[in-house]
């Protein structure tokens, strides 16, 4: 392979791989970041192919392997995959709902060398949490899983996605994470792509709710300093500048779908006209260096105004391509979250329609994530 010789500008080595081992998941969270069109079980990569992918990842300079889904524990070969990642020197992070794990399996994962577990919670209250997940008993099971993780000595991160039905307990979820024995907690306000976009009208909180929750969580940083690290992803609908999505397109991470397609971000398939390559036909490094999708928005050459002449263009890289597409119709535009975007009004308009929302959301309002039913187009 002569990838390095054919590329005009130097491309830095990837840092992380998000491996969606499967899209199967017992839970039905209405904000799931998986695409609305989920990959079927039949077409999933087999164990040997995943092992090759992780070997190639390590050789390409990748440090962190994020084993995700769907629910990665739905894969029977999870322990074998973890052991392989360990063997090739990757740092393994299991991103799980906890459903499908047992105490015995957690011990096997620990023995295989698993480095870190990231456990999702849906709320700090059982009834609400199970309603959001669309799965009775999920909350209770997660408490067991957290205990098993602590027993085997693997560091635990608790991860909570914030939306209207749980935003009143954003701060409480930090405390709950401490009670679960987590060393780190991610409080992430919903980002409106994929299933979350389908469910936006029942997920999005009001500006006042957001401000209160953000202040509450920020206030806990000092309380828990040295005890738990709080990673706080605040909602960008009220921000002045966009986020550097994925730390820059094709700059840090690659996302492999259950069927083997490699994406610069998990929502990249929503952008029309991008050509994605698959691990079935190309090596990971070849895809990183040469696939059209990874090169489409690399660097700054593709940018339009106001990004093109903006001093922040190498800080936020114009924000999120998928959001630019969804809200302006052109993925090359500035992410309209940016106050300099001529489309910025649209964001404020959307946000304003949620200023007077009812905190009570019933399960019947959600379109739950599922492999089986087709979601009606908006």
């Amino acid at each position: 392979m002569n990838a390095l010789e054919t590329t005009p500008t130097p491309i830095s080595a990837p840092v992380g791989i998000l491996a969606e081992l499967t899209h199967r998941c017992p839970l039905g969270c209405p904000y799931c970041s998986n695409p609305v069109e989920l990959d079927s079980r039949a077409g999933e990569l087999d164990t040997e192919t995943w092992k090759r992918v992780f070997s190639e990842a390590a050789a390409a300079g990748i440090l962190h392997a994020h084993l995700s889904g769907g629910e990665p524990a739905s894969r029977r070969d999870l322990v074998e995959i973890v052991a392989h990642c360990k063997k090739v020197g990757l740092y393994t992070n299991l991103i799980t709902s906890g459903i499908g794990l047992t105490q015995e399996r957690m011990r096997e994962l620990a023995d295989a060398g698993l480095d870190h577990v990231q456990l999702s919670i849906q709320d700090a209250m059982a009834e609400s949490a199970d309603r959001i997940a669309g799965y009775k008993g999920a909350f209770a099971r997660k408490i067991d899983v957290a205990r098993w993780v602590n027993e085997v000595g693997i560091p635990l991160t608790v991860n909570a996605v914030i939306h209207r039905a749980n935003i009143a307990r954003a701060g409480r979820m930090v405390e709950f994470a401490v009670e679960l024995g987590a060393r780190r907690v991610e409080i992430a306000h919903t980002q409106y792509y994929a299933w979350a976009l389908v469910n936006r009208k029942v997920l999005m909180p009001s500006h006042a709710q957001v401000e209160k929750a953000v202040a509450e969580v920020e206030g806990l940083r000092e309380t828990y300093a040295g005890k738990i690290v709080i990673d706080h992803v605040i909602p960008d609908y009220y921000a002045k500048y966009p986020k550097a999505c994925m730390g820059g397109w094709g700059k840090r991470t690659m996302n492999v779908t259950p069927h083997g397609k490699v994406l610069p971000c998990h929502a990249a398939e929503t952008i029309p006209g991008l050509e994605f390559w698959t691990v079935r036909e190309h090596s990971l490094i070849d895809i990183w260096m040469n696939s059209p999708a990874f090169n489409a928005f690399r660097g700054t050459e593709w940018m339009l105004e106001p990004c093109r002449s903006c001093p922040r263009k190498t800080i936020d890289f114009g924000g999120c391509r998928c959001q630019a597409l969804a809200l302006t119709g052109d993925a090359r535009n500035a992410d309209p979250i940016c106050h300099l975007s001529p489309h910025h009004d649209k964001v404020a308009e959307i946000a304003a329609t949620f200023d007077d929302v009812d905190a009570n959301v019933s399960a019947s309002d959600y379109i739950y994530r599922t492999l089986k039913t087709r979601v009606p187009a908006e």
Binding site: A13, V15, A60, G61, L63, H64, G89, Y91, N93, D115, H116, Q118, G153, I154, P155, T157, R183, R184, A225, G226, I228, V229, D231
Partner: protein
């Protein structure tokens, strides 16, 4: 716990499970890998972290570094405390 001056000399710092000091061949540098974090480390930090094995006390680590690099003990101690305090706050070192 994270105030460097308050760390006792008798603590035995160690990297907890899930935190690794790794020499990265691709980039040719030492990195500290932790959950969702990659920290670049300077040569001094590498020497300190290599000694955080859960057996050596902070005082012993400082003595060892002072002897090996023929440097002033007080200065080394300041560096060690600053690094360990910072990493303990991030829960990347256990004291």
């Amino acid at each position: 716990m994270s105030d460097p001056a308050e760390i006792g000399g008798e603590v035995k710092p160690r990297l907890p499970r899930g935190v690794h000091l790794k020499h990265d061949e691709t980039r040719g540098e030492w990195l500290l890998l932790a959950p969702e974090r990659v920290l670049k480390t300077n040569p001094i930090a590498v020497e300190i972290l290599k000694r955080c094995d859960g057996n050596a006390t902070l005082s012993e680590i400082v003595d060892d570094l002072a002897a090996q690099f023929k440097a002033e003990r007080a200065r080394i101690e300041t560096d060690v405390r600053a690094l360990l305090g910072e990493l303990a706050a991030k829960r990347m070192v256990d004291l």
